[in-house]
C-alpha cells in the first residue's frame, strides 16, 4: 500500500464561524487558557453595503517541508511517515526556536507543562481510526480530513475537483491544510500593529 499522506481541506464557503473547532480542540487537547492550537480568524472585506465576512480556521499546517522540524535542535519535532508533524513532549527542551521559525504562528508554549505544543491532526484519534476532533465537531462539514494519497478518499476527490490554495505559499513549507474559496486578500492580511503578548519580554524567569 502506498504511503499515507494526511491532509485537511477547509471549505470557506461552508464555514459559518461558530468556533466549534476551537472549542473541540481545547477540550480534546486540554489546551490551557491564553493559548490556542486551533483558532478562527474573522475578516471583513469590502465597504458597506457591499461587505462580506470570511471565517478562516487556523491550525498547524503539518507542512511537508516543515521548517520547525528542520530547525528543532533535539529532533523533538519530527515528521511521522504519514506526514503528521509531531512534538515529542519528553524530548522538547523548550528552546522555542520552532515557534520563532514557523511562518504561521501555530505553535505555543503550554504554560502548564512548559513544553511546545501545536495541532498534530489529533494523531491519537487518527491512529485509532477516528477523525480529528475539530473535523468531527464541524456542524457544516466545512473541514474534511483524510489520506490524500488514497484516490477514493473524500479529501483527494475534493482536492482534485476544486480550486484550492494554502497559506503563505511563498514560504515553501508546502502546507497540508488546503482552503477552498479562500480570497487572496483575506489570506494574506495580517493584523496591523502588534498582536503579541509582550509582558515578560525582558526578565521573565521561568524556573
Amino acid at each position: 500500500m502506498a504511503r499515507k499522506r494526511y491532509a485537511m481541506v477547509i471549505d470557506m464557503r461552508r464555514c459559518i464561524g461558530c468556533h466549534a473547532c476551537t472549542v473541540a480542540c481545547k477540550a480534546e487537547m486540554a489546551v490551557p487558557l491564553e493559548v490556542n492550537a486551533t483558532w478562527l480568524k474573522i475578516i471583513e472585506k469590502g465597504a458597506y453595503p457591499d461587505t462580506r465576512r470570511f471565517y478562516l480556521p487556523r491550525m498547524c499546517n503539518n507542512c511537508t517541508d516543515a521548517i520547525c522540524a528542520r530547525n528543532c535542535p533535539t529532533q523533538a519535532t519530527y515528521k511521522r511517515d504519514d506526514g503528521i508533524v509531531v512534538v515529542d513532549q519528553h524530548r522538547c527542551i523548550g528552546c522555542k526556536y520552532c515557534i520563532a521559525s514557523c511562518p504561521y504562528d501555530t505553535r505555543f508554549i503550554n504554560p502548564l507543562k512548559n513544553i511546545v505544543q501545536k495541532c498534530f491532526f489529533c494523531q491519537h484519534r487518527v491512529d485509532a481510526g477516528l477523525e480529528p476532533a475539530c473535523v468531527e465537531s464541524c456542524p457544516t462539514r466545512a473541514m474534511v480530513f483524510g489520506d490524500r494519497n488514497d484516490n477514493k478518499s473524500e479529501i483527494s476527490q475534493l482536492l482534485a475537483s476544486n480550486a484550492t490554495t494554502v497559506l503563505k505559499k511563498e514560504m515553501e513549507t508546502n502546507p497540508n491544510v488546503y482552503y477552498i474559496a479562500a480570497d487572496e486578500t483575506v489570506m494574506s492580511n495580517v493584523e496591523k500593529g502588534i498582536n503579541y503578548r509582550t509582558e515578560g519580554t525582558i526578565t521573565k524567569l521561568r524556573l
Binding site: 493559548v35 490556542n36 483558532w39 480568524k41 474573522i42 471583513e44 472585506k45 469590502g46 487556523r58 521548517i67 528542520r70 530547525n71 528543532c72 535542535p73 533535539t74 529532533q75 523533538a76 524530548r91 522538547c92 527542551i93 523548550g94 528552546c95 522555542k96 526556536y97 515557534i99 520563532a100 521559525s101 514557523c102 511562518p103 504561521y104 504562528d105 501555530t106 505553535r107 505555543f108 508554549i109 512548559n114 513544553i115 511546545v116 511563498e170 514560504m171 487572496e184 486578500t185 483575506v186 494574506s188 492580511n189 495580517v190 493584523e191 500593529g193 502588534i194 498582536n195 503579541y196 503578548r197 509582550t198 515578560g200 519580554t201 525582558i202 521573565k204 524567569l205 521561568r206 524556573l207
Partner: protein
C-alpha cells in the same frame, strides 16, 4: 496590494517566543568573540606593549563565554533537559552547531589563557590561530540562528551572520578599551611616564580601530535596510518597523545615533586624544550593540505572522 477594505475583526494573540535572554546571549558571545580576536592579534604581533591587552582579553573571552550560555539555559522552558542538545542532535538545526561550538570554544579559550599567562608564546600563537575560526563560528552561528528562522523577514537575510560578527568586534573592542583604560587610570601608577604615554597611545589606537569597524557595521546595516525596503512585502514591513515604527527610537536613536555616530565622532574628532571621550565612546558603543540585539530579537518577532 490594496488591503484597505479588509479588516481583521477577530483573531487570537500569540506569545513572543524568544525573550531578551537570547539577545543577551548574543551580546555576551559577541563580547567574548571580539575580545578573543583582539587578544590573538596582540599575541601574534608579539610586541611588548601589547602584552597587557593580550592578557586582559585572554582572560575576558572564556569568562564571558561562560556567562553567555547561562542566558540560553535560563531561556529554556525545560532547563534541566539541556543535555538533550548533545544526545539528540539534529544537524540541520543551527542550534546544534551551537551546542558543540559553545562547548569547544570555552575549553580552547581557557587553555589559550593559560598559555598566555604562563608566557608560552609559541603555544599561544598556534592556539590563537586555531582559535580564531572557532571564535568566528561561535559568534557567526548566532547570526545563522536568526537567518535560518525564515518566518521572520527582519532576520532572514544572508547578511545577518556578518552583521553579527562585525557588531561583535565593535562591542568586544569597546569592552577592551574600557578595561584597558581603567587599568591605565588606577593600576598603572607604578609605570614610568614614558610607559604610561605608550599605553595611552595604544588605547587610542585601539579605539580608532573600533571606529573603523563601526563604519563597516554601518555600511552593512545600510545595505541590509536598502534591500529590505525593496524586497517583498514582509521585508518592507520589517524595514519600516525599524525606520518609522515602534522600534525606530531604539534603532535610529540608540543603535545608530548614540551607539555608532556619536562614538565615531568622539574617537576620530577633536577629542581623539582624550581618554575620557574614548571611554564614553566605548560605553556608548556597548549600549548601542545591546540595543541592536534587542531590536533584532524582539523587533524581528513583533511583526505579526497571522
Amino acid at each position: 496590494m490594496d488591503n484597505t477594505d479588509v479588516n481583521v475583526v477577530y483573531s487570537v494573540q500569540h506569545q513572543l517566543p524568544l525573550v531578551m535572554y537570547i539577545g543577551q546571549y548574543f551580546f555576551f558571545t559577541g563580547l567574548s568573540a571580539g575580545s578573543f580576536v583582539i587578544s590573538v592579534i596582540a599575541t601574534l604581533l608579539g610586541r611588548k606593549e601589547f602584552k597587557p591587552i593580550g592578557k586582559i582579553t585572554a582572560l575576558l573571552a572564556p569568562i564571558l563565554l561562560i556567562i553567555a550560555p547561562l542566558n540560553l539555559i535560563l531561556d529554556l522552558e525545560q532547563p534541566l533537559r539541556f543535555w538533550h542538545l548533545f544526545v539528540f542532535y539534529n544537524w540541520t538545526s543551527p542550534i546544534t552547531y551551537g551546542s558543540f561550538l559553545l562547548t569547544a570554544y570555552p575549553v580552547m579559550g581557557v587553555i589559550y589563557a593559560i598559555m598566555v599567562y604562563t608566557n608560552r608564546q609559541k603555544a599561544a600563537k598556534i592556539l590563537g590561530i586555531l582559535g580564531i575560526p572557532l571564535a568566528i563560528s561561535v559568534h557567526g552561528y548566532t547570526g545563522f540562528i536568526l537567518a535560518l528562522a525564515k518566518a521572520r523577514a527582519l532576520w532572514n537575510t544572508a547578511a545577518m551572520p556578518t552583521i553579527f560578527l562585525v557588531s561583535a568586534m565593535v562591542s568586544g573592542i569597546g569592552l577592551v578599551v574600557i578595561i584597558a583604560a581603567a587599568r591605565w587610570k588606577w593600576f598603572d601608577k607604578a609605570a614610568t611616564v614614558e610607559q604610561r604615554e605608550k599605553d595611552k597611545r595604544l588605547i587610542i589606537q585601539l579605539a580608532q580601530f573600533m571606529a573603523y569597524i563601526i563604519m563597516l557595521d554601518l555600511f552593512l546595516i545600510l545595505s541590509d535596510i536598502l534591500v529590505l525596503l525593496t524586497a517583498h512585502s514582509d521585508a518592507y514591513q520589517a524595514g519600516m518597523l525599524i525606520l518609522t515604527g515602534n522600534f525606530a527610537p531604539l534603532f535610529l536613536g540608540v543603535e545608530i545615533f548614540l551607539g555608532s555616530l556619536v562614538p565615531m565622532v568622539l574617537v576620530l574628532g577633536p577629542t581623539r586624544k582624550s581618554m575620557k571621550a574614548i571611554v564614553i565612546a566605548s560605553i556608548l558603543v556597548n549600549i548601542g550593540v545591546y540595543a541592536m540585539r534587542f531590536v533584532m530579537v524582539i523587533g524581528g518577532q513583533s511583526i505579526p505572522l497571522s
